[in-house]
Amino acid sequence: MSRITRRDFLKFTGGAGAASTLGMLGISSTAHAAKHGNMGAHVVVVGGGFGGATCAKYLKRAGINVTLIEPSTKFVTCPFSNYVLGGTHKIENITHSYDALRNSGVKVVRDTVTDIDAAGKSVKLKGGKTLKYDRLVVSPGIDFKWDAIKGYSEQASQKMPHAWKAGPQTLLLRKQLENMKDGGTFILVAPPNPFRCPPGPYERASMVAYYLKNHKPKSKVLILDPKDAFSKQGLFQDGWKKLYGNMIEWVPGKAGGKVSAVDTKTMTVTGELDKFKGAVVNVIPAQTAGSIALKAGLANESGFCPVDPKTFESKIHKGIHVIGDSSIAGALPKSGFAANSEAKMCASAIAAMIKGEPIADVSFVNTCYSLIAPNYGISVAGVYRVTEKGIADVPGAGGVSPKEATDTFREEEAKYALGWYASITADTWG
């Protein structure tokens, strides 16, 4: 980590104009900047989701000049979008504005990054502008491998929604559920590893069953899965049995659950052994890092981005940090919680680099709450550190909710899931 010299600092800010530039950036003391490193340095953050918004906020708190690029005016969270499907939440309850970030001094630009020039340290925006950066943070979430299932495509997702990015897709799937006749089958095509939110498909099946049980009790939920195991499996299956009897059926890979083709005209899904007809079909495709990360050459052959486990700086392009779902983060899952934690550690490292201070030891946390019903919550937790093997679980910590627990315990966890959502969204966009 090199300390940024006074000369570099002047070069960046344009020599004689340094003081006034700093003034424009809202930095009060040039003497402070010269003494403590390049406080005029500019960090650009790509993506205003869980990773990007948190990183921008914590960089700003550390006194860094930061611009956040995000195409949407408001962010609809994937977390809790399953409850919109279940009918307990409205889309407005999971929609967040960028006003608070703006008010805290983050420059929020409504645009899409179309190109990243790692050598020239600049990004190109769809709107035509080019922005220079000293460090870049890339948190674009995921994109889909549209060609992994025959017959599925972006266009097909208008008939068989993925709803794995929240917003119009969530509302479309909810509408299809509302229009579904009692006695129909809701088919959920689960994705192969790695994918965002490991318990997400199974929470979705739960919340769909919750809605169907109360409104269309003769219906079924069929999960077709290429995998033979999933997150919190025992807890989910116990809960399903207890709350929904035989309504939810899970077909693992070894029983022919891998789907090779879909047909939107006949609403059929082709598994390895059978064809299935769905009243509503929810296809969650295989995933890669966000397309801008792929385009910038930040990903390896896995489709995700290798990073330094402490700073999240790309192992491919120096000066660029990749966080959130797009990154390869060792034992950390692809979750909003993990993205938030990675963002804080990344902001702390970037601030130290800019200020010429040592990079502090990092620690990561994750907890994924899932609701099997509005009053029945389960969770999986972990605390993580950097070891020689990368980001690893702290042994003895974390784990899943107890298998045997009272109704009150499950109810408490459901209550805390709501508390978690209120807190993380305040921590990220508040």
Binding site: P358, D361, A381, R385, G396, A397, G419
Partner: protein
């Protein structure tokens, strides 16, 4: 994990922060495995650990929802509660699973950081 235990024992047995600092300042920080923090916990490392609590307990420990706020609690009371979660003396849904992720020295450092918000 042998090293972790011996370091903790050493700290508990009275190795002062100053001695620790003197012994370790020559080592570059990047070379130490973070799972076995042999150096004293810096304020920045404590902030890194503590900021992860805010994801559930709200910004600066001010919770907007059903999880209790941490804001306004003293370092002593935070240490006591976290130790009780860790030992199981105080039952919890999730806190034991988190508290077990931190050494005694780390709990003290986190408590100090969280109680610093006025």
């Amino acid at each position: 994990m042998q090293t972790v235990k011996s370091v903790i024992t050493w700290i508990v047995l009275g190795g002062s922060a100053a001695t620790l600092a003197a012994c370790t300042t020559t080592k570059p920080p990047a070379e130490k495995p973070a799972a076995a923090p042999a150096a004293p916990i810096t304020a920045a490392a404590a902030a890194n650990m503590g900021s992860n609590c805010f994801t559930c307990h709200g910004p600066e420990g001010r919770s907007p929802g059903s999880i209790p706020s941490l804001h306004g609690k003293t370092a002593e009371s935070l240490v006591k509660t976290l130790q009780d979660f860790k030992s199981g003396a105080r039952p919890s849904t999730v806190m034991a699973r988190h508290a077990k992720g931190y050494s005694d020295a780390e709990i003290a450092a986190i408590a100090k950081y969280i109680s610093s918000f006025k």
